[in-house]
């Protein structure tokens, strides 16, 4: 076990994947000499050369389209999209090609492509640099979607994503790149739990708080604050957004009967809607109150000075907890 930042864990994961399989190649803007704008590929050009760590022309559709062609030839391309808001020019190649080619060919052509996306807000960035587009990909059959929240998961699941024969959209919370945690760099991949399982990060009994990515930290703070008020929250990190590990989620909901789902992405047809619809379907008779969503508003990501009014924070989560627990809350007023 070594302590390292989430960013470094991702670097280590890429390095290990490049070492393990010479079909792994990295593609992206500024990933070579610069090491990427977040330095995740730092040092990899020197170690593996320009044939495997490939600076691309500035065109996301081109990058992903080229990755498809490399996959046709048996490569396992790992694409870096520079920021979340720049994935949209590649949307057609992702949705109509990457997601569909395996199905189109009944499995004859594999698409073991990993698309890494530095993701989400809270860093005071300019427009298009704080987006949470995960629901688009969750809604797209044929893709797997991973969202990491800590260095250990980052290291392991990035390697699993690259090793997977399916395409994986891999979300990396920018806000946590510098957060530290313990990582076991030598744990054999074969022994790891499969990609796709959720994790109960904190056990509790009064309500289930479901989230993923950088919002997990906020959720855990909320759980601590709630504990001070005598409320016991179970906090679940989904980790995989497609598939969602509903067995774990449902087990928790059956226990608590109350649910809050939190994410930064906007609300309408977002991941929280999916989770609530599925949980309601599976656990209806266990539910004691309406599951609630705490999300970014249905607005374009706002200018940096306003983002704190957009992002779910501790208080908004606690308010939702109060609501699912039928305690006084912002809608009932203090006297409810």
């Amino acid at each position: 076990m070594v302590e390292m930042t989430l960013g470094k864990a991702l670097s280590a994961g890429l390095r290990q994947a490049l070492r393990d399989d010479d079909k792994v190649v990295l593609l992206g803007e500024d990933i070579g000499r610069l090491g990427g704008v977040f330095r995740i590929t730092d040092g990899l050009l020197d170690e593996f050369g320009a044939q495997r760590v490939i600076d691309t022309p500035l065109a996301e559709s081109g990058i992903v389209g080229m990755a498809v062609g490399l996959a046709f030839r048996g490569y396992r391309p790992v694409v870096e999209i520079q920021f979340d808001g720049f994935v949209y020019p590649a949307f057609d190649q992702i949705v109509a090609q990457v997601a569909k080619l395996h199905y189109r060919t009944q499995g004859r052509v594999k698409m073991p492509i990993t698309i890494r996306i530095p993701w989400a807000g809270g860093i005071g960035a300019a427009e298009h640099h704080s987006e949470s587009p995960e629901a688009y990909f969750v809604h797209t059959a044929g893709l797997r979607v991973i969202a990491v929240s800590n260095p250990e998961d980052a290291y392991r699941s990035l390697r699993q994503a690259i090793a997977s024969d399916d395409p994986v959209i891999f979300f990396e919370p920018k806000r946590l790149y510098h957060h530290k945690g313990e990582v076991d760099l030598d744990a054999p991949l074969a022994d790891a739990a499969p990609m796709g399982l959720a994790r109960v990060v904190r056990a509790g009994s009064d309500a289930t708080l479901i989230t993923y990515g950088a919002m997990l930290a906020t959720a855990l703070q909320a759980a601590e604050a709630a504990e001070d008020e005598g409320i016991s929250l179970e906090v679940i990190d989904l980790r995989s957004l497609s598939p969602v590990d509903y067995d774990s989620v449902a087990a928790s909901v059956r226990k608590t009967g109350r649910v809050v789902v939190a994410h930064e992405a906007s609300r309408e047809a977002g991941v929280a809607a999916e989770v609530i619809a599925s949980v309601t379907e599976r656990c209806f008779e266990y539910l004691e109150s309406a599951p609630l969503r705490i999300t970014g508003h249905d607005v374009p990501y706002p200018p940096a000075k306003l983002e704190k009014y957009h992002l779910p924070d501790l208080d908004r989560i606690l308010d939702a907890v109060d609501r699912v627990l039928d305690r006084p809350n912002s809608l009932t007023g203090a006297d409810a």
């Binding site: 080229m66 062609g69 057609d92 395996h102 004859r108 044929g142 797997r144």
Partner: protein, 371 residues
């Protein structure tokens, strides 16, 4: 400042601006640039090309017929484009890999397609009509231009592998407007990837004449990206073969991509769902009928005294035979069972989809139990 460029508007002049070896009436003219590439093509090979084009036309007609009879959902005819497709595809080496659009019936024919391969996708049985690995041809691509980037990625892989192979991509004149096709040229030039771009300029993108996309020769775009190009008479099978050999040689030599614009004409409708009389003149069609690629090669062979009745009869028989087998395969196709709708979405288990599949299986089974 760059020189003034003159637009070319009418399709007649269009063709005059392209390289050829055979004139529309089948005479051979000297073409110093292209001739060396087909110096080896003797009468027997010319007859083989003729046979290919005849068979292709027959396959294409059978596709139309099967669609009209309700056996196929759709068919995209390639009549008129036989010289482009056969000429370029017959120049390929077996190890080359093709990324086609949806109209390249002639290319998959030349790569050794089985009779059922032509119709399997159009009938709606499967997403891909043929086995990509077997033919070294990617599945037909419907998203305009998407495949050109795949070819570049594949070519980058070839280069990394140090392999003696070329990736080839086919696309239409309409496709040249898509961002992807332009990005493909840029990426190919940037990486000096061994890829050949073949634009079949058949003068129409559904109802839009090529002038909506470009009032200038399309081949003229490539050099700006650093890609040498040639504009060839797409109804001249010899010129197409020569141009393709030049392009493949160029790509194989390690000096990067090459680009061909084959100027041809879509004689039929865009697809069987289209009615071209709504948007184009009978006269234009007629003028292109006089440039028919098969008639041209026949005239040439006849002038050489190399077009025997025997050859014609054998060709006809071969064409009829493949059409018959194509029809038989088509009619004999058995649709996969309902649960096949879930097959092949993922290479590895996906718990969400598995649950859906199980529920749907239970749902289907509930009818059986009722019965």
């Amino acid at each position: 400042m760059s020189p003034q460029i003159t637009p070319i508007a009418d399709t007649a002049q269009d063709l005059e601006l392209s390289e050829r070896i055979l004139t529309p009436d089948g005479q051979r003219v000297a073409n110093p640039q292209l001739d060396p590439y087909v110096a080896d093509v003797d009468a027997a090979q010319l007859r083989a090309l003729h046979r290919d084009m005849m068979v292709l036309r027959r396959i294409d007609a059978e596709g139309v017929a099967l669609q009209r009879q309700g056996q196929l959902g759709l068919w995209a005819p390639c009549q008129g484009q036989e010289a482009t497709q056969i000429g370029t595809a017959r120049a390929l080496a077996p190890q080359d890999y093709v990324f086609p659009s949806y109209r390249e019936t002639g290319v998959i024919y030349a790569r050794g397609a089985e009779p059922g391969d032509y119709v399997r996708m159009w009938r709606g049985e499967e997403g891909a009509g043929h086995d990509p690995e077997a033919l070294r041809v990617a599945p037909l691509q419907i998203i305009i231009g998407a495949q050109t980037l795949h070819a570049v990625g594949y070519a980058l892989g070839i280069r990394h592998d140090g392999a003696d192979e070329v990736a080839v991509t086919y696309f239409g004149d309409g496709a040249t407007s898509q961002g992807d096709v332009n990005e493909a040229m840029i990426f190919a030039a940037s990486y000096q990837a061994p890829v050949v771009f073949v634009c079949q300029n058949n003068h129409w993108a559904i109802s839009e004449p090529v002038a909506v996309q470009s009032q200038y020769p399309i081949a003229g775009r490539a050099p700006g990206f650093g890609i040498p190009s040639v504009r060839v008479d797409g109804n001249d099978v010899l010129a197409c073969m020569a141009a393709m050999r030049w392009a493949l040689d160029h790509a194989r030599s390690g000096t990067g991509p090459a680009y061909i614009e084959a100027v041809t004409y879509r004689m039929g409708p865009h697809t069987t769902a289209d009615d071209p009389t709504r948007y184009r003149d009978a006269e234009e069609l007629e003028s292109w009928r006089r440039r028919d690629p098969i008639a041209r090669l026949e005239a040439h062979l006849r002038a050489l005294g190399e077009l025997s009745e025997e050859h014609l009869a054998e060709t006809q028989a071969a064409a009829d035979d493949i059409a018959r087998r194509m029809r038989a395969e088509c009619l004999g196709m058995v649709t996969r069972p309902p649960l096949a709708v879930f097959d092949g979405v993922y290479a590895e288990p996906h718990s969400g989809l598995e649950r859906q599949r199980d529920e749907y299986a239970a749902y289907l089974a509930s009818f059986e139990s009722e019965a």
